[in-house]
């Protein structure tokens, strides 16, 4: 059973929430509804996490359900595996993208493989929350976009919300999922606000959303680049260019139906991400869409991404990140006739 099969709960009065607060509310509501949901990670307890996503949860649920872990990422994820095997629903936090790498082995070798290895007898209903990507004046290790490591690993569901409503709805759904979910939270969007009536439900987690309709080009974005795509579409109006914006929401699985339909309609597409281009997630998107829609395409699918370098220093990050100017310039390299 998934969240979407359950009867809708009456909505509470609307409140303005940041994405961080929406995530917080999602964990809180999930913990209130289901005593098997437990939360742990570095400084998620009394401190409430670096980005305040777990603020107040320790006070409400106590040490037995919300606990600070020592600096031991591998241990954190491994522990979550064992707990999930016994029917708990752990939600664990990796404090920053690059701090998930000490847990890489547990995630890739065990979280991703347990179900297959046991021919479905063992399910791992766990969520690994990872704040990711840049644009916060951070530096290397604190601004990494690590999605391709996870999407290249069969067995992992990888999603990334771009706004507070999706943040709430998708995290609730991730927690009820019986498969392990890598939940990528775009740091630069933590402070984005929206008015929400909780418990808000947006589209199912595994689907992409068309956020803006257009006829000439499909911009495919997720997480932090959705905002950039929308801004680009707005600017493009003046140039007489009609851009359709897709928020993937789910990186793995990939919503071929929604994205394919859009690309067949516009015949041109570009993928945006902050991660480096070489071997990045955009390569998969471009190849997959090309394989399935080649005869509908008027031009090669472009990737507009971070450069093939480690994340640069704060004062140079604006040149690293895909910007509307860079995106429009890239679209200008196509032959238009």
């Amino acid at each position: 059973m998934t969240l979407h099969d359950t009867a809708p709960t009456p909505l509470r009065a609307p409140v303005t929430l940041t994405m961080a607060a929406a995530l917080n509310a999602a964990i809180q509501d999930a913990m209130r509804d289901d005593p098997t949901v437990v939360l742990f990670g570095e400084d998620v307890g009394p401190l409430g996490g670096v980005f305040r996503v777990t603020d107040g949860l320790y006070a409400e649920f106590g040490e037995s359900r919300v606990s600070d872990s020592p600096l031991a990422e591998s241990g954190i994820v491994g522990t979550a595996i064992g707990m999930a095997m016994y029917g708990l629903r752990p939600v664990v936090e990796m404090q920053f993208d690059a701090f998930s790498y000490p847990a890489f082995e547990q995630i890739v070798s065990h979280v991703a493989k347990m179900r297959n290895r046991t021919r479905g007898r063992v399910q791992l209903p766990l969520v690994i929350r990872i704040p990711y990507a840049g644009d916060i004046g951070g530096v290397e290790h604190h601004s990494d976009s690590s999605e391709a490591y996870w999407t290249a690993t069969p067995g992992l569901t990888v999603v990334s919300p771009s706004n507070p409503a999706d943040a709430y709805s998708m995290l609730r759904e991730a927690i009820t999922s019986d498969d392990p979910v890598i939940f990528l939270e775009p740091k630069s969007r933590y402070w984005a606000k929206a008015e929400l009536s909780l418990p808000v439900r947006t589209a199912p987690m595994n689907t992409a959303a068309v956020l803006r309709e257009g006829t000439d080009v499909t911009l495919i974005a997720y997480g932090p680049t959705v905002k950039t795509a929308l801004a680009t579409a707005e600017l493009a109006v003046a140039e007489g260019l009609s851009i359709e914006v897709i928020d993937l929401r789910s990186l793995s699985p990939f919503d071929d139906e929604t994205v394919g339909a859009s690309v067949r309609k516009t015949s041109r597409a570009a993928v945006l991400h902050e991660a480096a281009q070489f071997g990045g997630y955009g390569a998969e998107v471009a190849a997959r869409l090309t394989e399935r829609n080649f005869f509908h395409l008027a031009a090669p699918i472009l990737r507009i991404t971070g450069f093939d370098i480690p994340y640069p220093s704060p004062k140079l990050e604006e040149y690293f990140l895909p910007t509307p100017d860079r995106i429009l310039a890239a679209l200008g390299t196509w032959e238009w006739n």
């Binding site: 570095e42 400084d43 307890g45 009394p46 401190l47 409430g48 670096v50 600070d68 872990s69 020592p70 600096l71 031991a72 990422e73 591998s74 241990g75 690059a98 701090f99 790498y101 000490p102 004046g137 951070g138 530096v139 290397e140 290790h141 604190h142 281009q277 070489f278 472009l302 990737r303 507009i304 991404t305 450069f307 093939d308 370098i309 480690p310 640069p312 220093s313 704060p314 004062k315 140079l316 040149y319 690293f320 910007t323 100017d325 860079r326 310039a329 890239a330 390299t333």
Partner: protein, 340 residues
């Protein structure tokens, strides 16, 4: 104190004050957004770096953490190059690419700050093994916080160092907290020296607020390491006076606890000792302060005059043999300033 010892102690006081004033300035510059990114200051812990580094030779190596401005400075990296690095400028010791947490300077064998907790430990083992293989009697001093002790890399490193009898001086900066997590909430055995002892590494706790005690312990341990006795381990008990980083609501400790530790400010302690013995006349203290202030001022002037590396060069130095090239050969995906 005899004259020689007093002179030496004044030198340590000077070194601690260099770190303190430099970092106070960094905090100010951070608030003014001159420095961006993440920054962690060492204020309160200066006796640890000052005491240990005073005992090292130029050919020794130093490996540190993201709280490493003081270690870099005392190792001899020029204050201006450190500050310019924190500004993200190409005049910095890493061309602006490292920032506050990744200072690095091969000339002084300062092999890095490291933003990954416990990230420096395994590489220190490698430096020491290379020294041992080459028959060089050098020490690799490896600094890390007590929080790092929970990471697997710590245990792998201690075992390797002991197993291969490597010349490493482990310096655990035990300031009682890893971000907001108190030691007792993260370790079953809070006596960290005992952990090292379990690996057959001679280890002992040291009062990390007393620079003379730190120096004495480091000198003894370092001499043993240099003499081929294998790794040694110091647990330096200290306290950070400021927040973990620049964003930290400090909900995890009582003001009274901080106040108690402030009583043991390592700079005040040594100054009081020297003054009580009549070894720090007012004009001498004034001179020390003036020289530190001048150094900090010059560093700020140097950093302020710095420049960002050209955007077009961002792809340089990622690989040895592919300088100036990009893995993407299309013009589209090379960094450049967009016309505005």
């Amino acid at each position: 104190m005899n004259a020689e010892r007093a002179e030496h102690a004044r030198g340590l006081l000077h070194q601690m004050l260099r770190v303190r004033r430099f970092e106070e300035k960094c905090v100010e510059l951070y608030s003014a957004a001159k420095i961006r990114g993440f920054m962690h200051v060492y204020i309160g812990e200066e006796a640890v770096a000052a005491g240990v580094l005073a005992t090292l030779e130029p050919e020794d190596a130093v490996v540190a953490t993201y709280r490493e401005h003081g270690h870099a400075l005392l190792r001899g990296v020029p204050a201006g190059a450190i500050l310019a690095e924190m500004y993200g400028f190409e005049q910095g010791c890493c061309r602006g690419r490292g920032g506050s947490m990744h200072l690095f300077d091969a000339a002084t064998r300062f092999f890095g700050g490291n933003a990954i907790v416990a990230g420096g430990l395994p590489l220190a083992i490698g430096l020491a093994l290379a020294d041992k293989m080459a028959g060089r009697s050098r020490v690799t001093a490896c600094f890390f916080g007590e929080g790092a002790v929970a990471e697997g890399a710590f245990h792998e490193s201690l075992n390797l160092a002991a197993l291969w009898r490597l010349p490493v001086l482990f310096c655990c900066e035990n300031n009682l907290y890893a971000m907001g997590t108190a030691l007792a909430r993260s370790e079953s055995q809070t006596d960290i020296a005992l952990k090292a002892a379990a690996y057959e590494i001679p280890a002992w706790p040291v009062d990390g607020m007393d620079v003379l005690a730190v120096e004495e312990a480091a000198r003894r341990a370092g001499a043993a390491v240099r003499g081929g006795a294998g790794p040694h381990f110091l647990e330096l008990r200290t306290y950070r006076f400021r927040a973990h980083s620049m964003y930290d609501p400090e909900r995890y400790r009582e003001k009274a606890e901080v106040a108690q530790w402030l009583e043991r400010d390592p700079i005040d302690l040594l100054r009081a000792t020297l003054e009580a013995a009549g070894d720090l006349p007012e004009p001498t203290w004034a001179e020390v302060q003036a020289s530190v202030d001048a150094e900090v001022q010059a560093a700020v002037a140097f950093a302020e005059a710095g420049t960002l590396e050209p955007v077009e060069e961002l792809t340089r130095h990622v690989y040895t043999d592919r300088d100036d090239t990009d893995r993407d050969d299309t013009e589209r995906n090379r960094p450049k300033r967009m016309p505005t």
